[in-house]
């Protein structure tokens, strides 16, 4: 009993049955469907899925910023014991950037072109931490240095177009961690970068996490990126969470057919020349307006059977450490 309450206290974020709908002529398209996950302190949750499966919308909903005409229809988003859905706009504005920060996919456009790098970092420090101009300036130099930008003092007066993509992503990270948030939402932070820079950025994030104990939700469509950098992985498909488990466990013993398919479609460095050709997932990504009854993955699933249309898409609660939404298939194939 006590153990459980301790675990509860350590939870930063607990999302339950989060459902996000986009209004449509016929009703709602569900971009997230009863999604539940939680993020304890000092923990990285990885989220994987194809484009359009609801990852980014889910992230943005945590900040109360679901783009119009979308809205959170049901569920709760508990942030340190308080439901963010019931919180006032003013309060939410304070939580954004101070407690929860976010970095974005495209470093070429995530900085405002008309302000210098220094202005953009000190703005956060002055608005969120109420620092004086001089203090903010000194801190901005430290932050740029921390994210690995050489001669930070000189770079402060640079404008975004004078920096490379990798540098801009570093500046974005500096801005995001300026207010020492407890949770960092990383929405495909490396997708637009070269592989070498990707690696540098990810290790930078890992270092910062280690130093500050900040938690992170890392969203990517790249299973490899997520696997190496997360404690826990959640796999999304067509707005549903189809599998969730500890990273190593999930990657080595995937239970849901979709996760299995994803992993089979990626080349593995230690198996070069061994196994056969890569196996793609057949079919097209799902159309949210036209999902089948039950499991949305069934048209593309190797194990499809007549029970698929009655699947409830609940993660198996018997195994909270590693739940799959598919009742028929296990790591070895059909149960």
């Amino acid at each position: 009993m006590r153990k459980q309450s301790e675990a509860m206290e350590a939870l930063l974020l607990k999302v339950d049955d989060l459902t996000i709908g986009f209004a449509d002529r016929r009703g709602f398209l569900l971009a997230a469907n009863r999604v539940s996950f939680s993020v304890p302190k000092d923990h990285t949750l990885g989220m994987v899925g194809e484009s359009g499966c609801g990852k980014s919308v889910t992230l943005r909903s945590l900040l109360g910023l679901v783009p119009y005409p979308g809205e959170v229809i049901a569920g709760s988003i508990m942030w340190m014991g308080r439901d963010l859905r019931g919180v006032s706009k003013k309060k939410l504005e304070q939580i954004r950037g101070k407690d929860i920060s976010m970095i974005f996919q495209d470093p070429t456009s995530c900085l405002n072109p008309v302000f210098s790098v220094g202005d953009q970092i000190t703005e956060m420090l002055r608005l969120k931490l109420y620092m004086s101009r001089q203090k903010a300036y000194a801190r901005a130099v430290e932050l740029l240095d921390r994210v690995g930008i050489p001669s930070p003092k000189l770079r402060l007066t640079d404008y975004p177009h004078q920096l490379s993509g990798g540098m801009r992503q570093r500046v974005m990270i500096a801005i995001a961690i300026a207010s020492q948030p407890k949770l960092l939402l990383a929405d495909e932070p490396t997708t637009a970068l070269d592989v070498t820079i990707q690696d540098q950025i990810l290790s930078l994030l890992a270092e910062i996490r280690e130093e500050t104990g900040m938690s992170m939700i890392l969203v990517s469509h790249d299973v490899g990126v997520v696997a190496q950098n997360s404690d826990e992985v959640a796999v999304m498909y067509a707005g549903y969470l189809v599998e969730r488990g500890r990273a190593q466990e999930l990657l080595h013993r995937p239970r849901h057919p979709y996760t299995q398919g994803l992993l089979k479609a990626i080349p593995k460095i230690d198996q070069v020349g061994e196994g056969g050709p890569l196996v793609p997932i057949r079919g097209q990504p799902p159309n949210l307006a036209d999902l089948p009854q039950g499991c949305p993955f069934q048209p593309r699933c190797r194990f499809m059977n007549e029970g698929c249309s009655t699947v409830s898409m609940e993660l198996n609660r018997q195994e909270p450490e590693h739940g799959s939404a598919c009742p028929f298939v296990d790591e070895g194939g059909m149960r």
Partner: protein
């Protein structure tokens, strides 16, 4: 290059307009009936009109009225239009619908007819012209800014400003406005010309500045009668108007090139 040429032309016009009295062109209404309808000469570079008034002096004094009219009406409506357009574009929904329907209403009238109507309600004179042009020309800025804001809203740095919890006021006025300024400034240059011409047209029709006050439109209108015998009365001031117009247009062009390069030359 175009930018500096334009700045040069407009700059000279502004300096001459401000300094008219110091360089000896003191009284635009001084008559010398013995020297009426003189062709351009050293003593009267632009010639004289039927009352013997020196036309260059009148043009220079007219420049004060016309240039200040152009600049004031343009930038006041730029500020108003940009503010309302930014709100409409950022918030969308009802704010957007209401504001843009007002804009549509204003724009759907033929520009000059609406100004004429307003100017005649307020009364003939400079005030009527100011009110008429202001009531009409903010709408174009509002529409322009709204469109730019719709695009800007979707950029990642605007989303970032939102996700990082900056106050809405700050997002609109500090982060968005500088990015919206470019299109507005470029447009404002052609708008200045348009507004100056509108004042000239109103005066020509007897609703703007009234004679004997020297103003480009009134000078040109009065010279019309003598076009066949004393062409300089209308023609030379007309060329001045054209030159100043070209000057502003060049600035607009130059600004478009330059701002485009500096701001979006990121890649």
């Amino acid at each position: 290059m175009t930018l500096w040429l334009g700045v040069g032309i407009v700059g000279i016009a502004v300096i001459l307009a401000i300094g008219t009295n110091w360089i000896g062109f003191t009284n635009p209404n001084e008559q010398d009936l013995g020297a009426s309808l003189l062709a351009p000469s050293v003593a009267h570079p632009f010639g004289t009109d039927e009352l013997g008034r020196d036309i260059l002096t009148r043009v220079l004094h007219g420049a004060r009225i016309d240039l200040s009219f152009g600049l004031i009406t343009t930038y006041v409506s730029l500020v108003i239009g940009m503010f309302l357009g930014a709100l409409a574009g950022y918030f969308g929904g009802v704010t957007d619908t209401v504001l843009m329907r007002v804009v549509d209403t204003v724009i759907s009238f033929p520009f000059i007819v609406l100004i004429l109507a307003i100017a005649s309600i307020v009364g003939a004179g400079l005030l009527g012209a100011y009110v008429g042009v202001l009531v009409v020309s903010w709408a174009l800025y509002a529409r322009l800014t709204r469109g730019e804001m719709l695009v800007l809203r979707e950029t990642q740095y605007m989303m970032a400003a939102e996700t990082l919890g900056l106050p809405v006021r700050r997002i609109i006025f500090v982060h968005a406005i500088p990015n919206l300024l470019r299109a507005n400034l470029v447009f404002s240059m052609s708008d200045i010309v348009l507004n100056i011409l509108t004042l000239a047209a109103l005066s020509y029709l007897g609703l703007g500045v009234r004679p004997p006050t020297a103003e480009w439109g009134t000078i040109i209108a009065q010279g019309q009668k003598y076009l066949r015998t004393a062409w300089w009365i209308s023609t030379l001031p007309g060329i001045v108007v054209v030159l100043v117009g070209v000057g502003f247009a060049l600035i607009g062009d130059g600004l478009a090139d330059r701002l485009g390069e500096d701001v979006t030359g990121a890649a």
